[in-house]
């Protein structure tokens, strides 16, 4: 039985056990149909042309993991950024109240399952409304997730502390497909910052397929930082979808250093005027790592901006993929869209496939894109070495210099420091990066 067949038959049998009909069950029912029809993406799908899941899908994943209650704070402490923050922890797809620090009057930070069961209005209003139902990985998550994190930030809330979302895979059920469903609803005039991390604690193969839906209210600032530094047995298909209201500013940064295969599906829907979407990313890869950033900015209305900057550094036999889709609808006049994808290839066996895809149907817009693929500047390397800086360190400094522009939207000092440390560790140098 293939993984797809296993998934469909398992959830069909669950479905039969639950006879009640509700809107949630209807969504699940449709999701099963979508997944049955489309299945896992293959290289034949245009959107997945450069990323094959074949090697992972041979794994006989456990698709309904047991709850692991044995994880303690001490096991996971090091995966948090060292800063005063709220914490929401999900273990193998189950929200863990014990490991989370969610007490605040300013916002709701809770289990997704509970929010739905308690019929939280906002949760019911937005769940499955932001992520596209016809996407097979979203459909898979819709049918397979047990729980996740629900965050609701009421109007006029300035969250001084960031919220750290930590998704742990324990491998207690062996090789596991971990699916988490998150929903973050930000009201009007808010300021909120999220740090998200997926971490496997096991050598068992993990495939994580989280879906995070985000709604950013009018005139709010929303920052979401993804730290991807997982072990080599971990694979991630991240699906993040952001709805933006008028005058909202949303920032999503994706920092990919670890893991085996990582696919980041990231979409912004600019639904009302004067919204600004910001997407930055750094991929720093070696060995046979593979990171695919698939980004989509949907300019649906006039007077919105989008700013996109992705930097990639590929060593050894690693592979990077970047797709930057920008769709400017007929009525989206005065759109200002810009996109940059800059890459360094450090080895003959490393690869990058980069494709800007601009579809523009409005006639009064500014849209520009650029991509570069290059090597480390030899003149700069000689310059640094001639000042006594050894080759390895000089290379590392040049790589950091190349990538650091994409750190400009990181507004949490401890996070910047943490990313700088991760970069130094990844490059195997003892350098304090940053200013």
């Amino acid at each position: 039985m293939s993984l797809k067949e296993k998934i469909i038959s398992t959830y069909r049998s669950f479905e039969e056990a639950i006879s009640s009909s509700s809107s949630i069950n209807d969504i699940k029912d449709n999701a099963i149909k979508t997944f049955e029809e489309k299945g896992f993406p293959t290289l034949k799908d245009e959107d997945w042309k450069y990323t094959s899941l074949k090697s992972i899908l041979k794994t006989d994943f456990c698709i309904v993991p047991s709850e692991n209650k044995d994880i303690e704070i001490a096991d996971i402490e090091k995966y948090f950024v060292d800063t005063d923050s709220f914490r929401a922890v999900v273990v193998d797809g189950y929200f863990s109240a014990e490991l989370s620090t969610i007490n605040t009057e300013k916002a709701i930070i809770s289990s997704m399952k509970e929010a739905i069961e308690e019929k939280n209005e906002l949760a019911l209003k937005h769940i499955s409304k932001i992520a596209p139902a016809d996407n097979s990985m979203v459909a898979l998550n819709t049918i397979g997730h047990a729980d996740g994190i629900f965050i609701s930030i009421p109007n006029n809330t300035i969250l001084e502390k960031p919220i750290q979302l930590l998704h742990i895979a324990t491998g207690i059920s062996g090789e596991t497909l971990v699916q988490t469903r998150n929903l973050i609803v930000v009201g009007k005039n808010c300021d909120a910052k999220i740090i998200e991390r997926h971490q496997s604690l096991t050598e068992n193969t993990i495939l994580s397929n989280p879906v995070t839906e985000i709604s950013v209210g009018e005139n709010s600032y929303y920052y979401h930082y993804k730290i991807q530094n997982d072990v080599v047995s971990a694979n991630l298909i991240d699906n993040t979808y952001v709805n933006q209201s008028r005058y909202s500013n949303a920032f999503v940064d994706t920092f990919s250093f670890g893991g085996n295969i990582t696919r980041n599906n990231l979409s912004f829907f600019l639904n009302e005027e004067n919204a600004v979407a910001n997407l930055n990313g750094i991929s720093l890869l070696n060995d046979s790592q593979h990171v695919d950033n698939f980004t989509f900015v949907d300019h649906r209305v006039a007077n919105c901006d989008s700013h996109e900057l992705y930097k990639g550094i590929y060593d050894e036999s690693s592979k990077g993929v970047f797709t930057g889709k920008i769709f400017i609808h007929k009525d989206a006049q005065k759109t200002n869209g810009n996109q940059q994808n800059n890459n360094l290839i450090l080895s003959e066996n490393a690869q990058i496939n980069t494709r800007p895809q601009l579809e523009i149907y409005a006639d009064d817009v500014k849209a520009n894109h650029g991509c570069t693929i290059g090597q480390l500047d030899k003149e700069a390397l000689f310059f640094m070495r001639s000042r006594g800086i050894p080759k390895k360190e000089a290379k590392a400094m040049l790589m950091y210099a190349f990538a650091s522009e994409a750190l400009k939207n990181v507004k949490i000092e401890a996070l910047t420091a943490q990313i700088n440390k991760l970069i130094a560790a990844k490059l195997n140098v003892d350098i304090e990066f940053g200013e």
């Binding site: 700069a380 000689f382 310059f383 000042r387 006594g388 050894p390 080759k391 360190e393 210099a401 200013e435």
Partner: protein
Amino acid sequence: MLKIKDLKASIDGKEILKGLNLEVKPGEVHAVMGPNGAGKSTLSAVIAGKDTFEVTEGTIEFQGEIINELAPEDRAHKGIFMSFQHPVEIPGVTVTNFIKASVNAKRAAEGKEDLTPGEMLKLIKEKAAMLELDRKFLSRSLNQGFSGGEKKRNEIFQMAVLEPTLAILDETDSGLDIDALRIVANGVNNLKSPNRSAIVITHYQRLLDYIVPDFVHVLFEGRIVKTGGKELAMKLEEKGYDWIKEELKANN
């Protein structure tokens, strides 16, 4: 201190230095002048260890050791410093952090501990004052958006911090206004001591009014073809290089 014997160097199979001889003793300042394409920048790059040039024959001896095969960083650790004609821009690395990395790498090679942040700050402040650089300058990305003069001053600033035994200035004066030129020359002169030497590569005699050389060499077609005192530089400025070519022809 520096003995270059019969040095031949090429790039992409093209020979640039064709048997060059030069000796620099401790405390001496040597100026190297010559027309475009004579090999002046190649000479400085080869001494500093740039690996795009291949040394095919001859030796470079520095303080009694043949350094032909040494990596650029090892040469730097031994006290060789080259000021670049076109200093490289390195966004994301501040002047301060670059200098820290540079100073501590040299100290590590000498088996010394890193400077404490306090010591480093003191050193940087002191040298920055000498080059009339303000504090803001130190927290900017290295050479990024710097004017030509700022880049050159930054080079001399790094030289002042690193206190090299042999400083090579590759056309540091080109394009500088007179104020910047004075500041740069002052930085170089402050380093003068009986056991430090400098090679000043320049097109213009003007710099030599401020940094007074003990010897002036003419580099032509990959060789040093004439050596004299400061008056040679004046003559070159006045008459150009044609008379040298004539002399060479006559001698052949």
